[in-house]
């Protein structure tokens, strides 16, 4: 029976977890500001503030007398949605996506930890389904720094690396290309293209919540294996590996979506790894055969839906393969007395 003290400490831990995640999201946000100007910050502000507002209103509406502890998960949801969008995305529609994430995917279940689906993935998937033209049309990166400019270049269809891979274009890798890919200076989602910055965030994750990296590692490993074995277009296996991992929001999703703590997310290292690999496999299948160039949010939602059943089956399989000792006392006896007889 959990005491009041342990409950309080659990609440504090959840709060600290989301504050850590928000701190990690600062770096991609700064990169988005650097590449796309103040418009990116405005989009980020609208999404985070909108999510928090919908969260507060929802709590007041559904639980008028209760005062649930605030865990900053709504801020995190809004920030993740914003950073996966192009900087030119309309602000009102971004707010609708955040409203969907909070009102439909989170509020009916109480909190993010009780929700069966990752709210940010649900919100982004809703935006993808409703306004695909706006979600996947990315503006060009500004030629000169314009940190306070409240406008971006218009979005261009097919300008991102993921869309080029989807139509079968190939690319020869060079040091310059790789540098552009790693720093995110190519058209794409405003906050999820800078791979180096995201790797730094992963390094921070290593010290704050290392267990969650099992999901990320499994996810990226599965994506990498599929990309290496089945390159799209005329790309070589190695090029395909680099391009697929650096395109879209794959690394960003590996850090912030795949390892999210939902109601049915696994807790132990091996299930976490398997969950990540399962999500990665789904993601690559959606990328290869799906309608949209980026299917990671759909993969996360599918994994959230399927994992409770798949996890039970896999756990059964694991326990049937690794059988426990039939008689522990007999084994203990064997180790003590029986061992002497054997000798």
């Amino acid at each position: 029976m959990p005491t009041e003290k342990t409950e309080l400490s659990a609440e504090k831990q959840i709060k600290k977890h989301y504050l850590n995640l928000l701190f990690m999201l600062l770096a991609p946000a700064v990169m988005a500001w650097y590449y796309y100007g103040a418009q990116a910050l405005l989009l980020l502000a609208v999404c985070t503030a909108g999510s928090a507002l919908f969260d507060l209103v929802g709590v007041k509406f559904t639980l008028p007398r209760a005062k649930p502890p605030y865990d900053f998960s709504a801020f995190f949801t809004g920030a993740v949605i914003a950073l996966m969008l192009p900087a030119s995305f309309p602000l009102g529609r971004a707010a609708i996506g955040c409203a969907f994430a909070i009102i439909v995917a989170k509020m009916p279940f109480g909190s993010t930890h009780n929700a069966p689906f990752m709210p940010a993935a649900a919100g982004f998937a809703f935006l993808c389904v409703c306004w695909p033209a706006e979600v996947f049309n990315y503006p060009a990166i500004a030629d000169k720094f314009a940190l306070f400019r409240l406008s971006t270049a218009p979005g261009v269809a097919g300008s991102s690396l993921a869309s080029m891979l989807q139509v079968g274009d190939s690319m020869r890798l060079s040091p310059i290309n790789i540098l552009h890919l790693l720093t995110g200076s190519i058209p794409g989602p405003m906050g999820s293209g800078a791979i180096l910055v995201l790797l730094a965030a992963a390094f921070y994750f290593l010290f704050t919540r290392a267990s969650a990296l099992y999901n990320s590692f499994g996810f990226l490993f599965a994506c990498g294996v599929v990309a290496f074995l089945f390159p799209r277009g005329a790309n070589s296996s190695l090029s395909s590996l680099v391009l697929e991992l650096c395109s879209g929001s794959l690394v960003f999703a590996a850090l912030f979506l795949v390892n999210a703590e939902t109601a049915e997310s696994p807790q132990k290292p091996l299930p976490r790894l398997m969950f990540g690999m399962f999500t990665g496999l789904l993601c690559m299948l959606l990328r290869y055969f799906g309608v949209f160039e980026e299917g990671v949010c759909f993969a996360v939602l599918l994994a959230n839906a399927v994992w409770p059943f798949a996890g039970i089956r896999l756990d059964k399989l694991r326990k049937s393969v690794i059988k426990p000792p039939a008689n522990p006392l007999a084994e203990a006896e064997l180790e003590t007395g029986g061992g002497a007889d054997a000798r």
Partner: protein, 384 residues
């Protein structure tokens, strides 16, 4: 048992209250949601489907109540679909010739209304067991409840997904075309169901329990031989109380009869049902019970504890749970006694749900259908 299945005659407003709100076919009973989710993408299409559906349901139920009470069951069910087809065919032909657009919108779901599960269910549960008058009002109430949800879903999805109301543009929000997809229908239905539940709990609290009962699983009775005199298990066969409380709240609360707690099961008991019943809920229940049973706070130093964890009934495990003051030797004896009858236990992976669970559910369904098939007297509407 048939007496429990009888429809209690009540005042007319009670019939309508239950048909529209408390036992709403879509939002509470979750029957016939396919056309709502797939085809109710505009108010016009929803109105068309709701109108035709109302006609089908009322006609089918009244005909079933008036003429089909003594017909063989499988013939009756076929006739329900034929009645539906007779109603739908002229509408379908008319729409194809005069309004092809809406015919394309409703698609195959117009024809599928003929084989609607709700009509068959209400005919079998209500119409063939009641008077024509009662059946008419019941079908009318159900139709109103169904149509209201149909129209509401169509209205919301057209407004949000298409930005129109009855094809007239309303511009106050950007069009979220995703709501026209089936997932939009499910979301709207979910919120409407929650709203209905809140309304019933607030306005009609006396019916709130009935709504809960509608969505609970069927009670599974466990036949355990007990001796009424000593309250101990004996060779006499008696029907034990329903063990749903034990099943659903294994980790928190156990309403296990004392006879089950204090005695060993005989060799001719039916532990298969016990085990499968305990796992008929969610898979985590068994794990919870195991975690408590074999947890650090309450270790069971039994030699066969690993083997017993999945092979024996959860009731036996729970009985060892509840007797915390019982010496460990006694608990181990209890479990050891259970291992004496391994031939009665189901095969499965220890500590996990039985893979043949679906068979148990199927058997429960068969029992339920048999009970439905038993004849019962018709009801009369006492108040008009």
């Amino acid at each position: 048992m048939p007496a429990n299945r009888k429809q209690k005659a009540g005042p007319l407003q009670d019939v309508f209250l239950k048909g529209i709100l408390v036992h709403n076919p879509i939002l509470v009973q979750v029957i016939g949601i396919c056309p709502v989710v797939a085809a109710a993408v505009s108010l016009r299409a929803a109105a068309l489907l709701a109108g035709i559906y109302t006609l089908i349901l009322i006609l089918t139920e009244v005909i079933a109540s008036a003429f089909l009470k003594k017909t063989i069951r499988w013939v009756r069910v076929t006739l329900y679909m034929l009645i539906g087809l007779v109603v739908i065919s002229p509408f379908s032909c008319y729409l194809e010739k005069n309004n092809a657009g809406i015919r394309i919108t409703v698609g195959i779901y117009l024809s599928l209304l003929a084989a609607n599960s709700l009509a068959v269910l209400r005919c079998e549960k209500i119409a063939v067991k009641n008077t024509v008058k009662y059946t008419f009002f019941d079908s009318l109430a159900a139709s109103i409840g169904y149509s209201a949800v149909f129209l509401l879903v169509g209205f919301i999805r057209e407004l949000v997904g298409n930005g129109t109301i009855w094809d007239k543009p309303v511009r106050f929000l950007p069009r979220a075309s995703g709501m026209l997809m089936p997932f939009g229908g499910f979301i709207v239905l979910g919120f409407l169901a929650a709203t209905l539940r809140a309304v019933v709990i607030r306005r009609y609290p006396q019916h709130a329990k009935a709504m809960m009962i509608q969505i609970n699983p069927m009670p599974v009775t466990l036949k355990v031989p007990t001796d009424p005199a000593t309250d101990k298990i004996s060779n006499d066969t008696a029907e034990a109380p329903v063990i749903n409380t034990l099943v659903t709240e294994a980790g928190t609360e156990t309403d296990v009869p004392e006879a089950l707690e204090n005695a060993d099961p005989p060799a001719d008991s039916e532990p298969v049902n016990e085990n499968e019943t305990s796992e008929a809920e969610e898979p985590g229940v068994q794990d919870k019970a195991e975690a408590i049973t074999h947890g650090e706070d309450n270790p069971v130093p039994s030699e066969s504890s690993e083997e017993d964890s999945g092979e024996h009934s959860s009731i036996a495990e729970e009985s060892s749970l509840n007797t915390e003051q019982e010496p460990p030797q006694e608990a181990s004896q209890t479990q050891a006694a259970h291992t004496d009858t391994p031939q009665d236990q189901p095969e499965g992976i220890p500590g996990h749900s039985n893979p043949d669970l679906i068979d148990q559910r199927f058997m429960d369904l068969l029992h339920f259908l048999e009970e439905c098939d038993t004849p019962s007297e018709g009801n009369k509407l006492t108040d008009s």
